[in-house]
């Protein structure tokens, strides 16, 4: 701040971004975008993945320097060169990926975040001060617990408390509820809403959940492909009108209707137990039968054993005890059994779990069949022409956007990597399909296509196990819904009769 300048006014702080343009080489991430966050308001920033939301807030926070455009804080133009400048102006950000140190206690994390950490920390005094600070806050967190031991909801509260502890008056929240149960999300957002109304806090929240925008935000700004697609008061808008602004004129794949009969049990888990990487029990006595022609959804907050369960089914992790049967036979997840039982897998983070990043799209799409005719002669001599023909066909059928079939798959966008995996896993006959967070981080078009493919596989008679952290996705696709908490199945319901509050309660372990 320039010496002699009038200090920033107290009370609520507004932030405006004027004519923001950000180019990375040839790519235009932001194109002349305006954002006006009024002081003392709760503002939502909506947009698909890649719409430029994160780029915009990173420009405001000083992580990026916009190619053109200005940031006004409290009505005054500010040159924000780095995050420290932004912090000094009272701007704070809660990141989508937690920035707490898991191996440290909550108190250590809070003190550490300060700009003036003393050379020697007097813990007795710091704890007293922290307790005094917490007494005036709407949320409570256990100060002496290690962050790795507290729930995702408590971590998110800690992140927010950290910003308030640092006396930030303008908070940017990046998808703050993505790891929370609906109940926790409402609690956290409700408290923040209260602080906006009563304490003069200003909030800019990045989200893609219309429900939260409708319930908590005053105003909304919508971005599409780096451009301003619309803005206004939430009271004047509906979820449909906002969705139209987000997607534009793009045609979405239409999901087929739910048809067909439920068949015999195809995938059966009985008393399955598995450990996590730290050796703790992650999956505990899980039993479940999935029949042909049905989608069983597994709901739960991230980190309740879903990942380990899918890894066991995928053959990436050994079960400690229990058994998995497919079509009545014991299943060890080896290649021969996968082929015989027509097992398909859409794991989470497909680039990491289902692809070899450095190999071409054509090679990756051929993984299931590459050692058999027509791809290979005699089981060892590979016929490159067959790879190419097959890849060309699947690239067209599944609308995979790639420059050539020989491009390394790691160069594709997330949606196109998932489309390539979809092409590999679902183009043949499927009897059992296991999908884990198949749409995480993808745009509407990819999500619609993946949902349609999963429903089509179900309608063709496949038994589908869908593990997801997105309740809307589960409610849309599942026939039956199971809630997983602390490694156990704690609740089961028919999706058609599901009650969101009831599911949320079980997800939180109540």
């Amino acid at each position: 701040m320039i010496v002699g300048e009038v200090p920033m006014p107290g009370g609520a702080l507004g932030v405006d971004a004027v004519a923001m343009t950000m180019r990375f080489g040839d790519f235009v991430a932001l194109d002349n975008v305006e954002l006006k966050v009024r002081p003392g308001s709760f503002h939502a920033l909506l947009g698909e993945n890649g719409a430029g939301k994160s780029t915009l807030v990173k420009c405001i926070m000083g992580y990026y320097h916009p190619t053109e455009g200005d940031v006004l804080v409290g009505g005054r133009e500010q040159a924000i060169a780095n995050p420290k400048n932004a912090h000094a102006l009272g701007l704070g950000m809660v990141y989508q990926h937690f920035t707490l140190v898991p191996a440290m206690t909550v108190a250590e994390n809070l003190v550490l975040a300060r700009d003036d950490v003393p050379p020697v920390v007097n813990w007795a005094r710091e704890k007293l001060e922290l307790e005094a600070f917490l007494a005036n806050m709407p949320f409570k967190v256990p100060l002496n617990a290690r962050v790795s031991d507290i729930s995702a909801g408590e971590r998110q509260k800690c992140e927010i408390l950290k910003q308030l502890y640092l006396k930030r008056r303008f908070l940017i929240l990046d998808e703050p509820t993505s790891v929370l149960t609906p109940g926790e999300a409402d609690e956290v957002l409700g408290m923040l809403r209260g602080m906006v109304v009563n304490d003069g806090l200003t909030i800019l929240m990045i989200t893609h959940k219309f429900r939260e925008v409708m319930a908590f935000a005053d105003e909304v700004t919508i971005l599409r492909r780096g451009k301003l697609a619309g803005h206004g008061k939430v009271a004047d808008l509906t979820p449909d009108s906002m969705a139209r602004m987000m997607i534009g004129a793009e045609e979405l794949t239409v999901q087929p209707a739910r048809v067909g009969q439920v068949g015999e049990p195809r995938l059966e888990l009985s008393k399955l137990n598995a450990l996590d990487d730290a050796g703790a029990v992650a999956v505990h006595d899980v039993s479940l039968a999935v029949r042909g022609g049905e989608i069983v959804g597994i709901a739960g907050v991230s980190g309740n054993g879903q990942r380990q369960l899918v890894e066991v089914l995928a053959g990436q992790r050994e079960a400690e005890s229990g058994e998995v049967r497919v079509a009545g036979e014991i299943y060890h997840a080896n290649r021969e059994e996968m082929r015989r039982h027509k097992m398909s897998l859409l794991p989470e983070e497909p680039l990491k779990n289902a692809c070899v990043g450095g190999m071409s799209v054509a090679d990756n799409v051929a993984f299931r069949e590459f050692d058999r005719a027509p791809f290979a002669s005699g089981g060892w001599w590979l016929n490159r022409a067959a790879f190419r023909d097959d890849a060309d066909r699947k690239i067209a059928q599944y609308k995979i956007k790639t420059r050539t079939p020989d491009t390394p798959i790691a160069a594709l966008s997330g949606g196109n990597v998932q489309r390539a995996v979809l092409a590999r896993e679902l183009s043949g006959d499927v009897e059992v399909l296991i999908a884990a967070n198949p749409c995480f981080g993808l745009d509407f078009a990819a999500v619609a296509q993946i949902h349609a493919e999963i429903m089509a596989a179900r309608n063709r008679g496949a038994a589908v196990l869908l593990v997801s952290e997105d309740l809307d996705e589960l409610l849309e696709l599942s026939d039956r819904l199971v809630v997983m908490f602390h490694g156990e199945f704690v609740y089961e319901t028919r999706a058609s009769e599901a009650n969101l509050t009831e599911i949320g309660r079980h997800m939180a372990g109540h």
Binding site: H97, T99, L100, P102, A103, M104, L112, P119, V120, D277
Partner: protein
């Protein structure tokens, strides 16, 4: 015991004395490596640092006549090698393990080259404090002649334990080692934190080396270190990155290393070389017991290249 011998008691006493003498380099190297690894980097080059430290301590002690200046020189040489390691590792796409192995070979090679003229002369050694003055038995007095460096090392372990918890630098080192994202989001430079942690680690490893050439065995030659540096790096894993456990582990390894000579002194000569291998057998056994391919190590800093 009129003849001043104490029979079979010699063995535990010699192991005790040996534990104190032999453990000192283990202690310094492992505490140094503990600091470096808690910041999220592994420096396997500490074997080279140890030997370079031994050589420079001996040389400076010989040239100046002051063994303590030698210790300081050893520390500074170690810090320099640490800075080299950290500097190379801060370049993009550089693997700290590979750099460490290169520096291990570089450090020992350079020490042998520069140390050639130091094999003949005798340098002033570090003094020891005689804690055995009350006893008439020669073995007791020998076992209780304790070097000041050992005492400094023993004091350093609880100080580090406290510092990791209650000082700004301790918290920053842990943050860099547990979550570089968090450190960056707070506006700290992870590379600078790691540079300093690796330099301090090198400083302590260099001092560990000075103990070898200036106290026990107390001369400079090319066979001075028998892998203490690299064993100490393994010891940090066994000690779960806890400075206090590093102290106990160093003592255990020192005791194991003193077993062979102790048995020999009472006439058990069969299997002498086998007993000399005791620390290495201990290393292997501990690693097999404490490590599992199915789970990650508890207490391991999350940013280490071996745990990520």
């Amino acid at each position: 015991m009129a003849d001043g011998t104490i029979g079979l008691w010699t063995v535990p006493l010699a192991v005790f004395g040996g534990a104190i003498r032999v453990s000192t380099p283990f202690l310094f190297v492992s505490l140094g490596e503990c600091i470096t690894e808690r910041s999220g980097r592994i420096n396997l080059g500490l074997e080279g640092t140890l030997v370079m430290g031994a050589m420079s301590a001996y040389g400076i002690s010989y040239l100046t006549g002051s063994p303590w200046l030698g210790v300081l020189a050893a520390g500074l040489t170690g810090a320099l090698l640490g800075a080299l390691h950290a500097g190379i590792c801060s370049l993009p796409r550089v693997n700290d393990i590979a750099v460490g192995i290169a520096l291990m070979l570089f450090g020992t090679g350079l020490a042998f080259y520069l140390g050639k003229p130091l094999i003949e002369p005798t340098a002033p050694r570090l003094p020891a404090i005689d804690f055995g003055w009350w006893s008439d038995v020669a073995q007791v007095r020998a076992a209780l002649r304790i070097n000041v460096l050992f005492l400094i090392g023993v004091a350093l372990a609880p100080i580090l334990y406290w510092a990791f918890r209650a000082t700004r630098w301790g918290l920053l080192i842990r943050t860099a080692g547990e979550s570089s994202d968090a450190a960056r989001a707070m506006g700290y430079s992870v590379l600078i934190i790691r540079l300093r942690a690796t330099m301090v680690g090198g400083f302590l490893a260099g001092i560990g080396g000075s103990f070898l050439s200036l106290f026990y065995p107390g001369s400079w030659n090319e066979g001075l270190s028998s892998g203490q540096g690299i064993t100490a790096v393994a010891l940090v894993i066994f000690a779960r990155w806890d400075p206090m456990l590093c102290l106990w582990a160093s003592l255990a390894f020192g005791g194991a290393a003193a077993l062979g000579p102790a048995l020999q002194s009472v006439g058990v000569t069969s299997g002498y070389h086998l007993f000399n291998a005791a620390p290495y057998i201990l290393t292997l056994a501990i690693m097999i017991i404490t490590c599992s391919p199915k789970r990650t190590l508890t207490g391991a800093p999350a940013e280490l290249s071996i745990t990520r």
